[in-house]
C-alpha cells in the first residue's frame, strides 16, 4: 500500500511540474472548448432546426393548422411532395386522408411518425414530442372552442394522446355543421400562445442536439482526458528504458504495486483535469452540469481509469517512448473523432454511431449527454460506467501481464 501511494504521488507531482503537461492538461482544452463552442453555434440551449418531412393526405384545414403548429416547434417542415430529388426523408409525419373530417367527425385518427433507420434516436424522440405537443395544442384549441360551443349548446371533444412513437388517437363526438365555426376559431387560437404544454417524460428538459458550449465542453473534456492519459504511456516506456523501473523493481514494491501506483497517479492527474474543466464549463461557459454532477465526475473518472489502463498497455507493449507518443496521438484523435468529441453523434450516420458505441469515448460522450443535456440521473449512466470499467479492466490485465522491468 505504502509503495503504491509513493509511486502514485511521485507520478502525479512529476506530471504537474512539467510546463508542457500543464499546457496540454489545462490550457489547450480551454482553447478547444472556446473554439468549438463558438463555431458550433455559440450559446447553449439553442435548439437546431431539424427537418421533419410531412406527408399530408388530408384535404381539410386542420392538417394545415397542425403543420403550422409544428413549424412553430422549431422544425423545418419539408412537405413530402416538394422533397428535392435524391434526398430521402429522415423522419416523416404521415397525416392520413380525411384527417380534418375524421377529427371533427369523432372518428379514430392515426398519425404515423416514420423514422428512417439511420435517424438519430434522441432527435426522433424530440420529433415525437414535438408532434404530440402540436397535436395537444391543436386539441386544446378544439376543446376550448368546443367549450365555447358547448356553452352555446353543443357537445364536447374527448382527447387521449399516448405513446411516444406511435399514433395519436383523437375521439370527437359528432358535431355536424360546425366546420366553418371551428375553422375560424382555430385560426384565432393559433395566434395565441399555447395553454397546454405536453412534456414527454423521456424528453425531460428539452431533447435537443447539444451544441455550442454544451457540446464543446464535454467533447473537449473527453478528448483531453484521453490525451492526458495516453501521453502518460510514453513516460512508462521511458522509465523502462532508463532503468528507473528496474530500480523500482529491486525495491520491495512488486509489479502489482507498480501498476496500481502508476494507474492511480494518472487518475489523480485526470481528476484534477476533470474538476478544473467542469468548473470552467460551469462558471466560464455557463453550461449546465445536469442534476448529478457527482455522477458526471464518477463517469469521467471511470473513463480516465479505462484510458489510463490503455496507456499502461501501450507503455508495456512498446519499447520506444516516441512510438508510444505517436500511437497515443493517433489513437486519441481517432477515438475523439469517432466517439463524438468533435461533432455531435446526432449528426453522423447510423453505422458511424455504431462505431462510436464500440469505443470508450462514445460511451462517455453519450453518458455525459444523458446527464447534462437530457438531465437524467446517475442511474441512467450506470451501464456506461460498467462498460468503461470493463474496458479498463481488460486493458489493465493485458498491460500488467505484459509489463517488464526493462525494455
Amino acid at each position: 500500500m505504502h509503495a503504491i501511494w509513493r509511486i502514485a504521488s511521485c507520478d502525479f507531482r512529476l506530471t504537474m511540474r512539467e510546463k508542457s503537461a500543464v499546457l496540454w492538461i489545462f490550457l489547450m482544452p480551454l482553447a478547444f472548448m472556446t473554439f468549438f463552442g463558438l463555431s458550433f453555434g455559440g450559446s447553449s440551449g439553442q435548439t437546431p432546426k431539424a427537418t421533419l418531412t410531412v406527408e399530408n393526405n388530408d384535404d381539410g384545414y386542420l392538417s394545415g393548422d397542425l403543420i403550422s403548429l409544428l413549424a412553430g416547434e422549431n422544425y423545418y417542415i419539408q412537405m413530402s411532395d416538394t422533397l428535392p430529388e435524391g434526398r430521402d426523408p429522415v423522419r416523416t409525419l404521415i397525416i392520413p386522408e380525411r384527417f380534418t373530417d375524421d377529427v371533427l367527425g369523432r372518428e379514430k385518427v392515426e398519425l404515423a411518425l416514420v423514422r428512417d433507420r439511420g435517424s438519430n434516436r434522441n432527435a426522433g424522440e424530440a420529433a415525437s414530442a414535438a408532434v404530440i405537443r402540436s397535436i395537444a395544442r391543436l386539441i386544446s384549441g378544439l376543446i376550448e372552442i368546443e367549450n365555447g360551443l358547448v356553452n352555446e349548446g353543443s357537445g364536447s371533444i374527448a382527447v387521449r394522446g399516448d405513446s411516444l412513437y406511435g399514433s395519436l388517437l383523437l375521439v370527437t363526438r359528432e358535431q355536424p355543421g360546425m366546420a366553418a365555426v371551428l375553422e375560424e376559431r382555430i385560426d384565432t387560437m393559433l395566434v395565441r400562445p399555447a395553454n397546454i404544454t405536453v412534456v414527454s417524460e423521456r424528453a425531460g428538459k428539452g431533447v435537443e442536439i447539444p451544441r455550442g458550449f454544451q457540446s464543446s465542453v464535454p467533447g473537449s473534456l473527453v478528448m483531453f482526458v484521453l490525451m492526458t492519459m495516453l501521453f502518460s504511456g510514453s513516460v512508462l516506456t521511458a522509465e523502462r528504458k532508463d532503468g528507473v523501473l528496474r530500480r523500482i523493481g529491486m525495491s520491495p514494491a512488486g509489479k502489482g504495486d507498480v501498476v496500481a501506483g502508476k494507474l492511480i497517479g494518472r487518475i489523480f492527474v485526470a481528476a484534477a483535469q476533470i474538476i478544473f474543466l467542469l468548473a470552467v464549463g460551469k462558471f466560464l461557459f455557463r453550461i449546465s452540469l445536469g442534476s448529478s454532477p457527482g455522477g458526471l465526475f464518477f463517469l469521467m473518472l471511470t473513463f480516465a481509469f479505462a484510458m489510463g489502463s490503455l496507456s499502461i498497455l501501450f507503455g508495456a507493449f512498446l519499447s520506444d517512448p516516441d512510438q508510444v507518443t505517436t500511437i497515443g496521438v493517433i489513437t486519441s484523435l481517432a477515438m475523439s473523432a469517432l466517439g463524438g468529441c468533435w461533432w455531435p453523434l446526432e449528426v453522423v450516420s447510423a453505422p458511424m454511431r455504431m462505431v462510436a458505441y464500440c469505443l470508450p469515448t462514445g460511451w462517455t460522450i453519450n453518458g455525459i449527454h444523458r446527464l447534462i443535456s437530457f438531465g437524467m440521473g446517475t442511474s441512467a449512466v450506470l451501464p456506461h460506467i460498467a462498460v468503461l470499467f470493463l474496458f479498463g479492466l481488460v486493458f489493465l490485465v493485458l498491460g500488467a501481464r505484459r509489463l517488464k522491468w526493462d525494455v
Binding site: 509513493r6 511521485c10 532508463d242 530500480r247 529491486m250 520491495p252
Partner: protein
Amino acid sequence: MTEMITVKELNKSFGEVRAVRGISFSVAQGEIFGFLGPNGAGKTTTISMLSGLLRPDSGSITIDGMDMASRGRDIRRIMGVIPQEIALYDELSGRDNLLFWGGLYGLAGGDLRDQVDRALELVELTDRAKDAVRTYSGGMKRRINLCAGLVHSPKIILLDEPTLGIDPQARIRILEVVKGLASEGRTVIYTTHYLEEAEQLCDRIAIIDEGTVHASGTLAELVELVGGKVMVSVTGDFSADEAKQVLGEAEFDHISDGELRVKLLDRDQTGRLLGGLFSAGLHVDGVAIREPSLESVFLQVTGRELRD
C-alpha cells in the same frame, strides 16, 4: 563469520546467450566481495538475480537465511541495490529523489527525512540537494545514484559498477563510502572491471568471464594461483618457432608469431631471457614485465587481458 549470501549453481540464459553459467559463491557479513570481469561477463545479470529482479533458470540464492524464491520481498527490504546506470528522476531534486526511493522502502516522516540528510552528507551532496539531478555533473550523479540505494540503511548492498566513467576524485569518495559501509557491518557485493578497485577495496574477489567464475579468493590467494611468478610479455618481429627454439626450457604462458609471454620466478631473469633473443638475432619491439598481481591472475585464468 555469519554467511549473509550463499549462491549455488546459478544459471541464466537469454535465448541463445548463456549469460550466467553455474556461478556459486558465498559472502560473509561485513565483507566486501568483488566481481571482477569484462563487458558482458555476466555481472549485471548476477546482480539482477541477487536483487530478485530476474528469476534464475536454475540454482539457489539464500540471503540472510531467506530463500530468494519464496521470500524475495523480505530480502529486497534489507537490500540496497545501486544499478549500473543512473536510474533516477532527472527532473526531481537530489533530495526529492532520495525521499522517493527511501519512501519505497517504507520509510516515512521525520525518520525518512533524517535518513535522507544522513545519506546526503555521506556523499557530500548536501549543498546541491535542492537542485534537479538533471543539472548535476557526472560524478555527482554517480554519488546520488549510490546514495539512493542507501537511504533505508540496508544490511546488504549490491553495487553494479558504481564508479563507471567518473573522475578519480569522485571515485575515491565512492570507494571510501563503500569501505565505511562494510566497516559498519554491512555486506557488500561490488562489481567492477577496474583491477585497481578490486585490489584496493575487496576482501575477496571472484574473477568472472563469460558467465563463469574462473577463480575466487583473497588477493593473496589469487596471486598464489599464478605461483607468485613474474609475467614477461615480449612483442617483436619473430615467429613462434624461432622463439621456441631460443627459449626452449622457459615456462610459456602464451606464444604466437610476434608475441610471447613467459613466467619467470623473479624479474632479474628478464635480462637473460632478452639476451637469448638478441643473441639469436631476433628483433624485439617491446617488453612488459608484470609483477604478480590481479592483472596477471586475470590474464592467466581467463587467457585474456582486462582492459579499462
